[in-house]
């Protein structure tokens, strides 16, 4: 492979790392919104994989897929933020650890 | 639509009918229940027909309709010498239980009788089902009503007892379900006769492990129900806490489901395994006989005492079954009936006394014979029956069982016979503490003699005690014939330990 071409696997690794970072954000951050954003990060990572794979396969299907993922992500964002709003209205906090009245 | 189907489904219809009776008319439901149960009993009398003078081969009134197309589950019912008397026992005891509960049950009368009748349905079904799946269905159905009878109308610790009873039995029976399914997967059929035929003809060859495991799966379910020695602890609680009728049904019929299952399924289907396992089953049975008697001896509570005595008596049944001798099996089955009659009667009488005095503590009585002579005489007779006095029913059963055990292995008989001594000890001691001595003031105030209704409930049982004790020919022949077949089946594929000692005494039985 010539000098200035990038091995596909690098893209995949990058996506893996970003995915992992998303997971990490989900687990580490305590602000609900940030947690939600880490999910978005994960989705982005997935999208990268899709696009990368579809490059390798020379198909546009992956792109379609990631397109739909974006749409869904947008929808989720709307709903999710609405939910967060209600939670905040009732609890006056965005601390995720505060939202555990039901357990065991 | 044979008379057998009628006997089986009358209770179900009765149950549905009872649900329609208005709540606020308890007497209506009482009468209804009595009518239904009596009708059932009458129709069940018709079942004796084929066995009147002869004991025909195979199943009578066989009915084999498809219930569920696939997997092939069939409504396959039939009657043979083994189930005949058990069915009659059930149908006889139900009306008696209705009578017994007449005054005893005041709250939620309608539900009570509904459950009682539904219970009858389940029990009759268990004894008639010839399709293993159907058998299991009835087996479980009979569980629920009893659970409610104990849990709702029982005494103080009724809830604990009810749950214990249900879980114990349920835990055992799920394993049986597994075994049934396994057999189905091997044979493609739930049909009892079919499977047995396959096994005996060797068309279905189970490996040794398979056979042992399947045997155990069935055996544990039945052993819990019987109950066999270490698995018996649900029984005292359930008996003590249950209302009178509950205890009666429990002791007289439900315990027999286990023994019945042993004879019907375990022995013919897994002959080799049964014979192999009898080496440890019999010691357990004998332990149960002696242990039950000893523990019964020291109980301060009447019902508990009778309950433990059941453990002892049922030990005889198991001993008889696993002695694999004609006498043993006949005795076992006969003992099942005897125990049904005499222990049932005992529980009824205990119930009578509880209704009067409102305590089950033996210490609360004493000198009852003075205020209630007839009650004490009836109780005496029942006591004598249950300690196996000759010319009363239990004697025959115990004798045959012990004879059979002795034929198989004399040592067993020696130990088991100790139980006979002990039974006299605890029952007579109980009788003395209840009835002899001078009646204390409140005893003489509370105890009065039997009422007409109470007589009506007891009389059939008393008659049966004498009849079954003095002229066994009216009962044993069908049993014997059936057991002979089962004995043959149990020899299938068994190349070891087929008893030779009876063969030596080739005395041809006199025929009259």
């Amino acid at each position: 492979m010539q000098a200035n071409s990038v091995p596909l696997s690098w893209y995949l690794l990058l996506s893996a790392i970003l995915f992992a970072l998303g997971v990490a954000g989900f687990i580490w951050r305590r602000n609900i919104i940030t947690v939600f954003m880490s999910i978005e990060l994960m989705l982005n990572a997935v999208n990268l994989s899709f696009v990368a794979f579809s490059y390798q396969l020379r198909q546009a299907d992956g792109h379609i897929f990631s397109l739909f993922v974006m749409v869904v992500a947008a929808a989720e964002a709307a709903v999710g933020l609405a939910i967060i709003l209600t939670v905040f209205k009732n609890r006056q906090t965005l601390e995720i650890d505060e939202v555990e009245s039901m357990k065991y | 639509m044979t008379i057998l189907d009628i006997t089986l489904f009358l209770p179900l219809l009765g149950f549905l009918a009872l649900l329609l009776v208005p709540k606020d008319r308890p007497d209506a439901s009482r009468t209804m229940a009595l009518a239904v149960s009596l009708l059932t009993f009458v129709s069940s009398l018709g079942l004796i027909g084929p066995y009147w003078f002869r004991s025909p081969q195979g199943f009578q009134f066989e009915q084999n309709l498809s219930w569920i197309a696939y997997p092939p589950i069939r409504y396959h019912v039939g009657l043979d010498g083994l189930s005949l008397w058990l069915v009659l026992l059930t149908t006889l005891l139900t009306p008696i239980c209705v009578l017994v509960s007449w005054k005893y049950i005041e709250k939620r009368v309608k539900e009570y009788y509904a459950w009682l009748i539904l219970l009858e349905f389940g029990l009759v079904g268990v004894f008639l089902a010839l399709d293993m799946f159907l058998f299991y269905v009835f087996w479980e159905i009979s569980l629920v009503p009893m659970y409610f009878l104990i849990g709702v109308w029982g005494h103080e610790r009724r809830i604990y007892a009810a749950i214990k009873f249900f879980l114990y039995t349920f835990a055992g029976s799920v394993l049986m379900l597994g075994a049934i399914i396994y057999l189905y997967n091997r044979t493609g059929s739930f049909d009892y006769s079919g499977v047995v035929a396959m096994i005996t003809s060797g068309r279905l060859a189970l490996t040794w492990t398979e056979q042992i495991l399947l045997f155990l799966a069935f055996f544990i379910a039945f052993a819990i129900k019987v109950p066999l020695f270490p698995l018996h602890t649900w029984l005292p609680d359930a008996h003590v806490e249950a209302p009178t009728a509950g205890s009666v049904m429990l002791a007289s019929v439900m315990l027999k489901m286990g023994a019945y299952g042993l004879i019907r399924f375990c022995v013919p289907m897994f002959p080799a395994a049964s014979r192999a396992c009898s080496d440890w089953i019999i010691p357990l049975a004998i332990t149960g006989i002696i242990y039950g008697a000893l523990v019964a001896m020291v109980q301060p509570n009447m019902k508990k005492l009778v309950a433990y005595s059941s453990v002892s008596h049922l030990g005889f049944v198991v001993l008889g079954i696993f002695s694999f001798t004609q006498q043993g099996l006949d005795g076992a089955v006969y003992q099942m009936l005897n125990h049904g009659v005499s222990t049932g009667a005992l529980f009824i009488l205990v119930g009578y006394m509880y209704e009067r005095r409102h305590t089950l503590e033996i210490a609360g009585y004493g000198g009852v014979a003075t205020p209630a002579p007839w009650l004490s005489s009836v109780f005496l007779m029942t006591t004598l029956a249950s300690i196996g006095l000759p010319m009363l029913n239990n004697f025959v059963g115990e004798y045959l069982v012990l004879q059979g055990a002795a034929i198989a292995n004399f040592t067993w008989a020696v130990f088991a016979a100790i139980g006979v001594i002990l039974s006299a000890v605890y029952m007579l001691w109980l009788y003395q503490r209840l009835f002899f001595g001078r009646a204390s003031e409140e005893v003489s105030r509370h105890m009065w003699d039997l009422s007409g209704r109470e007589w009506a409930a007891m009389l059939p049982l008393l008659v049966l005690m004498v009849w079954m004790g003095s002229y066994t020919q009216s009962f044993i022949p069908p049993i014997s014939a059936q057991n002979a077949r089962i004995l043959d089946l149990s020899k299938a594929g068994v190349d070891f330990r087929v008893d030779t000692r009876t063969a030596r005494s080739a005395e041809v039985a006199r025929v009259r």
Partner: protein, 617 residues
């Protein structure tokens, strides 16, 4: 011949009295009770006459009782010479005691109950003696046990009565345990329980070929006999059984039921022949019982207890005879004993009746002017039991001692000593009751019993004097061939008579001539006397060694320990444990979202590890 009528009459009487008795007048009850017994007596006599010589057994088969496989038990009755003797004894003496009871029980409550039990007893006793197979015999065997239980506990208001009844039944059960085991073995080895079948098969065997099984069978049978006939070690119930009304003691615990064991052993003679060892055991146990019971009898103060122990001792004699191989002699003594012992008890009853319920010898005395008839009849009985020449006892005891001598001389000597003691304590009782001065409270006025009571006494007195002239052993020879009769042993007879006379003389010396002497001797013997007076503390020993450990063990170890503690502990433990598991598991549901996410991560890692990378390739 309708043998079945013989037992059925009493049964009918029992049923009628039992069900309707409460509404019937006393006289009606009497008619039913006595009538039924007399009827069966009459029918028995008629039957026997009809049967004539009875060279071999006459059997009537009625219906199959139990039929299972090759086991077939019929409700069959039979009569042979042995049965005949028993039949007459039971029905005859039974009727007399019934009549006597009318007078004795006149003032007791539960009159009808008493007679219905009494008749029921007759029924079972007759079944016992007429049964044609072991199991039917066992029916009677248990049945009489039941009636004795009921009758001993007749005064059930008193705890000691109820206890005595229970004790009797349970001790008998121990015997029956042996009996039933024996029947099992018999069936296993002979394939039948019919006397006919068993004995014909047994005849084919010899002691050698019979082997250990026969011995085992016979020993087990004898265990049964020990229970029923109050032999060591199971004799303890009989003295307590005196708690019942005196007619009961006379009929059941002297004349008939307690002899059932003797009868049964005699019936099984054919088997015992095959088991010499068992025979020795029988003889030794019998002799031992005879001796020890006699020693105890020496010191009892309750008149009925005295006679009770003498019964035990006499039964021992009978077993000694059978053990010595002379079954005829045993039965002979059984018959004579039935007469004089029944008489002794009835007499005692009449004495007690005369004193309004007093049983303690020390509170009697001087009754000879109050109750002369009783005294005379009792004298006859006492002479008979002491083997006074030409009374019935003389003949039978002579036979026994002779047989014992031929079996083993030392047995004879011991027997003779026992005879002396017997004579001594019987006459001790006699003298204490009728001679000297009245020692009881003076508000009571002793009086002679009514005719209905003393007439039976008279009849029995005649019997106990004359019965000896019936040569039972010879009559029984076809059934029970006697052991070889050694010649020229007249001196044995003299010796036994001498022993008896010595006993009487001593008794006279101690209790009439020199009353002080008795106490002096008792004092001199000291502890030995106390030991005997307290019946060797056997009851206490049994209680401490068997009853208490069993009961307490059952309570503490089995019930509290094993049942409630171990088994239920495990069961409930399983329940508790699984609830515990649940309580732990639910802790993972910490409610914290990030924790949940961590779980998901963990899960995914596991899945990838297993499903993904684990796959290789």
């Amino acid at each position: 011949m309708n043998l079945w009528l013989i037992p059925i009459f009493p049964l009918a009487g029992a049923t009628i009295n039992g069900l309707l008795g409460r509404r019937m007048s006393k006289s009606a009850v009497n008619v039913v009770a006595i009538g039924s017994v007399l009827l069966s007596f009459a029918w028995a006599v008629k039957t026997l006459l009809g049967l004539g010589a009875m060279e071999h057994a006459y059997v009537e088969r009625y219906f199959t009782w139990i039929q299972s496989g090759n086991l077939n038990i019929g409700a069959d009755l039979m009569i042979d010479r042995l049965t005949a003797v028993m039949l007459l004894v039971v029905t005859g003496i039974g009727s007399l005691i019934h009549i006597y009871a009318v007078g004795y029980m006149a003032h007791e409550g539960g009159y009808y109950r008493f007679f219905s039990y009494f008749n029921l007893f007759m029924f079972f006793m007759l079944v016992l003696v007429m049964a044609a197979n072991y199991l039917l015999m066992f029916v009677g065997w248990e049945g009489v046990g039941l009636c004795s239980y009921l009758l001993i506990g007749f005064y059930f208001l008193e705890k000691f009565a109820a206890d005595a009844g229970k004790k009797a039944f349970i001790v008998n059960r121990i015997g029956d345990f042996g009996f039933s085991l024996a029947t099992f073995l018999i069936f296993i080895n002979f394939g039948t329980l019919d006397f006919g079948g068993v004995f014909s098969k047994a005849a084919a065997l010899t002691p050698e070929s019979g082997g250990g099984t026969m011995t085992l069978i016979c020993l087990l049978l004898f265990l049964g006999a020990c229970g029923k006939s109050a032999q060591i070690p199971l004799y303890v119930w009989l003295p307590d059984a005196m708690a019942g009304p005196t007619p009961v003691s006379a009929l059941i615990h002297a004349a008939t039921m307690v002899t059932a064991g003797v009868y049964m052993v005699a019936r099984s003679a054919a088997l015992y022949r095959l088991a010499p060892l068992a025979l020795d055991v029988v003889a030794i146990i019998g002799l031992a019982t005879a001796f020890f019971a006699a020693t105890i009898g020496l010191a009892q103060t309750d008149i009925k207890k005295v006679y009770a122990y003498s019964t035990v001792s006499q039964l021992g004699y009978m077993f000694l005879a059978e053990g010595a191989g002379s079954f005829g002699a045993g039965i002979f003594h059984l018959m004579t004993h039935a007469f004089f012992k029944a008489l002794l008890f009835l007499g005692a009853g009449s004495v007690i009746h005369a004193l309004g319920g007093e049983q303690d010898l020390r509170k009697m005395g001087g009754l000879r002017q109050y109750a002369p008839i009783t005294m005379v009849t009792l004298l006859c009985a006492s002479l008979a039991i002491s083997g006074f020449p030409f009374t019935s006892g003389y003949f039978s005891k002579d036979e026994i001692l002779a047989a014992a001598y031929h079996h083993a001389p030392w047995m004879f000597w011991l027997g003779a000593i026992t005879a002396a003691m017997t004579a001594f304590y019987v006459f001790r009782a006699f003298f204490l009751a009728f001679f000297g001065d009245y020692r009881g409270p003076h508000d009571k006025h002793p009086h002679e019993s009514p005719a209905v009571m003393w007439i039976p006494l008279g009849v029995l007195a005649v019997g106990s004097l004359a019965a000896g002239f019936v040569n039972v052993p010879q009559f029984l020879a076809p059934v029970l061939p006697a052991a070889e009769e050694g010649a020229g042993d007249a001196w044995l007879a003299y010796l036994s008579v001498a022993a008896g006379l010595t006993g009487i003389a001593l008794a006279y010396l101690f209790y009439v001539a020199r009353p002080a002497l008795a106490d002096a001797v008792a004092g001199a013997l000291g502890s030995l006397y106390r030991l005997v007076y307290n019946k060797y503390f056997v009851d206490e020993i049994y209680d401490a060694a068997i009853v208490t450990p069993v009961v307490e063990g059952a309570r503490a170890v089995l019930w509290r320990g094993v049942d409630a503690g171990l088994i239920d502990g495990v069961v409930n433990g399983v329940g508790r444990r699984s609830r515990g598991i649940g309580a732990v598991l639910r802790l993972f549901q910490a409610g914290n979202i990030r924790a949940y996410a961590a779980w998901v991560l963990l899960g995914s890692v596991l899945v990838i590890l297993y499903v993904g990378i684990g796959g290789g390739r």
